[in-house]
């Protein structure tokens, strides 16, 4: 990335004092590895080896109750994958995960973009507004999911109370436990997956601050000259947004899309705390957790989590192949 200046600096460092005959480059390499070794050890032991180990476990018939005897039993089997892929509800969970990830990612980035645009220019109290908008993201997940759960509660929740008092809802809506409800618009009855919509909206609410933060930082670093020139040429605010500002945000939005998609795809806490994966909101990671704790089937849990990771890798590959290439071409023009 920054090869030029770095290499230059190394050259000048080489003119410094020498110790014990070794060249400075060698000394530096040794120092570098020595300083990095705690990091390497921690990440290797606690992250890399576990990931590789998951692959091994996925091919073992390992259960919580035979953990002591079977852990080093390396008679590999494909049963876990077979069971996991053909078990009832797997395809449904996959579909829910995809919908949740795609819609949730789009919504959270869209909201983040709008929020960043409205606080772009300084005004009185802007710092406080910005901090408030970041609150959903920094607050503890357990606390905010409970606040939402009670807000949406059919008996005690304020949403149903307001719906009944002001909007004339005839029956209370159990937002988090209703798999599908009917939405009547202009006499049309539409079937809607209530709980899935609610958890997706929740996810947009909780994670838009992340996109907001990064888009705002980028917005404030944009050169003012382009916008000014377009204004002088008579471009209206909306035209300037579509033609000048948005293209310059393409890079950060593409990056956010990847990050948010990965994180939403792997999301566990929020859905588990809101619905325990019930009412048609069982995403794959919640299913993995169920295999692990509910059934104590460690092998199946590992197999399913590997399937999840592989699927994500394929989706990311497709994204980079088909979208990023195009974005870069567009940038070149």
């Amino acid at each position: 990335m920054r090869e030029g200046p770095v290499v230059g600096a190394e050259e000048s460092a080489r003119a410094g004092p020498r110790r014990r005959g070794r060249t400075l480059a060698q000394q530096e390499a040794r120092a570098g590895l020595a300083l990095l070794s705690p990091t390497l050890i921690v990440v290797l032991v606690m992250v890399v080896i576990p990931i590789l180990w998951t692959v091994v476990i996925a091919f073992q018939s390992l259960r919580l109750r035979n953990l002591r005897t079977r852990l080093f039993d390396f008679s590999f089997t494909l049963d876990n994958f077979g069971n996991v892929l053909t078990s009832p509800g797997f395809l449904e969970a996959l579909k829910v995960t995809l919908i949740y990830s795609v819609v949730g990612t789009a919504l959270s980035i869209g909201l983040g973009l709008v929020a960043a645009l409205v606080v772009r220019k300084p005004f009185k109290g802007r710092t406080l507004v910005r901090a408030s908008m970041l609150l959903p993201y920094v607050a503890p997940v357990v606390a905010v999911t409970f606040a939402w759960t009670i807000m949406l509660d059919p008996e005690l929740g304020i949403v149903n109370a307001i719906g009944a008092d002001l909007l004339g809802w005839e029956e209370r809506i159990p937002f988090l436990t209703q798999e599908s409800g009917t939405l009547s618009i202009f006499g049309l009855d539409l079937g809607v997956p209530t709980a899935l919509i609610v958890v997706t909206l929740y996810q947009a609410w909780r994670y838009f601050p992340f996109s907001f933060l990064f888009i705002l930082a980028r917005l404030q670093a944009l050169p003012a000259e382009l916008d000014e020139a377009a204004r002088v040429d008579g471009a209206t605010p909306l035209q300037r947004f579509w033609r000048i500002t948005l293209p310059q945000l393409q890079g950060v939005i593409a990056l956010l899309t990847v990050l948010r998609f990965i994180w939403t795809f792997n999301e566990f806490d929020d859905i588990y705390l809101l619905t325990q994966g019930g009412a048609g909101t069982e995403v794959v990671s919640v299913r993995v957790f169920r295999y692990l704790t509910g059934r104590g089937d460690i092998g199946a849990a590992a197999a399913l989590s590997l399937v999840l990771a592989l699927l994500l890798a394929v989706l990311l590959f497709l994204y980079f192949k088909f979208f990023v290439g195009r974005v870069e071409e567009a940038d070149a023009i």
């Binding site: 190394e10 530096e28 990095l36 409970f146 008092d165 930082a217 989590s305």
Partner: protein
């Protein structure tokens, strides 16, 4: 459009004259597109800000409001936006009292959470300061690969990592201990903090370190006396970031500590509280407030520092 649509004879022609006509007449029209859009957007902007403020703040307000109401009162009037029948702190008392006194023992959980969060900060910083300095400053074989590896590792789902760690800690008997959880947190956050700190170390002028080296200072002395003080803002931001993640974390706490009530964190204690039917929702909200308040105070006190630390480098696109 409608003005120029009148002469429909030639499709392409209307455009240029319109452009030409527009320019000299700009000062005249009171309602040009520019002005209309600017006005509408000006109003929309404030409506949008109000919408975002209500959407982000209301759940927190609701949480606090419910925590000081009696549960019967809530059942009677769930739509109230203000505690109609006065404020009571009974729910907080119940949550904080120890189990022996008929409470939920959140004081112990608070202590556990604080210990875990602070120890995670210390361990993460110790490891990642050395590592990020090495990546930012020193030329050695595999420097780039290490960099890439750290980021790649972070893309795996937490639940995938949780399985072998669960097995491993069960096997060596560390499951249920605070120490095991601290190790897990630190190792999971290190890749990100390395990334954050490295960006900052790269902006510290190298000439200062070279000067210290010429004066005969060793590598560790240089880091301690020169680079660290200069990187203090980034280190503070990173510490806050780690503290918040460790304080808020739920999945690993649930997997590792659930069987050992003495070691529960506030997040875990609260989630377990929700499972029992006899606990009132207002008590649950009091617990949520206790969990949230330290983070919110910390965040508002350090917002600028944290935001700058997190988005350092984002400006470059």
């Amino acid at each position: 459009m409608s003005r120029t649509d009148v002469d429909t004879g030639i499709a392409e022609r209307p455009q240029p004259p319109r452009e030409a006509a527009k320019r000299p007449s700009r000062p005249r029209p009171p309602l040009s597109r520019e002005i209309v859009e600017t006005r509408i957007l000006g109003v929309l902007k404030w409506i949008t800000i109000a919408f975002f403020l209500i959407a982000t703040l209301f759940p927190f307000y609701y949480m606090v409001m419910l925590s000081v109401r009696a549960i019967e009162d809530v059942a009677l009037d769930p739509g109230a936006l203000w505690p109609p029948r006065g404020v009571s702190t009974a729910a907080f008392g119940e949550v904080l009292r120890s189990v022996d006194d008929g409470g939920q023992g959140f004081l112990t959980f608070l202590r556990n959470s604080a210990v875990i969060a602070l120890a995670s900060v210390a361990l993460t910083l110790l490891v990642s300061i050395l590592g990020s300095y090495a990546i930012a400053r020193l030329q050695f074989f595999g420097r780039r690969q290490v960099n890439f590896l750290f980021l790649a590792v972070y893309l795996f789902p937490a639940i995938l990592l949780a399985i072998p760690l669960f097995v491993f800690f069960t096997r060596i008997g560390l499951r249920g201990s605070l120490f095991g959880l601290i190790l897990v947190y630190a190792s999971q956050i290190v890749p990100v903090t390395i990334y954050m700190l490295r960006n900052y170390f790269e902006t510290v002028p190298e000439s200062l370190e070279e000067a210290a080296a010429l004066d005969g200072a060793g590598r560790l002395t240089i880091i301690r006396k020169v680079s660290l003080p200069l990187a203090m803002p980034a280190i503070m931001a990173t510490s806050l970031f780690v503290f918040m993640i460790a304080w808020n974390e739920f999945l690993f706490a649930l997997l590792f500590l659930v069987e050992n009530r003495q070691n529960w964190t506030v997040s875990l204690g609260l989630s377990q509280l929700a499972g029992s039917i006899e606990v009132a929702k207002t008590t649950l909200m009091a617990g949520s407030v206790i969990l949230t308040v330290p983070i919110v105070i910390l965040f508002f006190a350090t917002e600028r520092l944290l935001v700058e630390g997190l988005t350092a480098g984002a400006e470059k696109g």
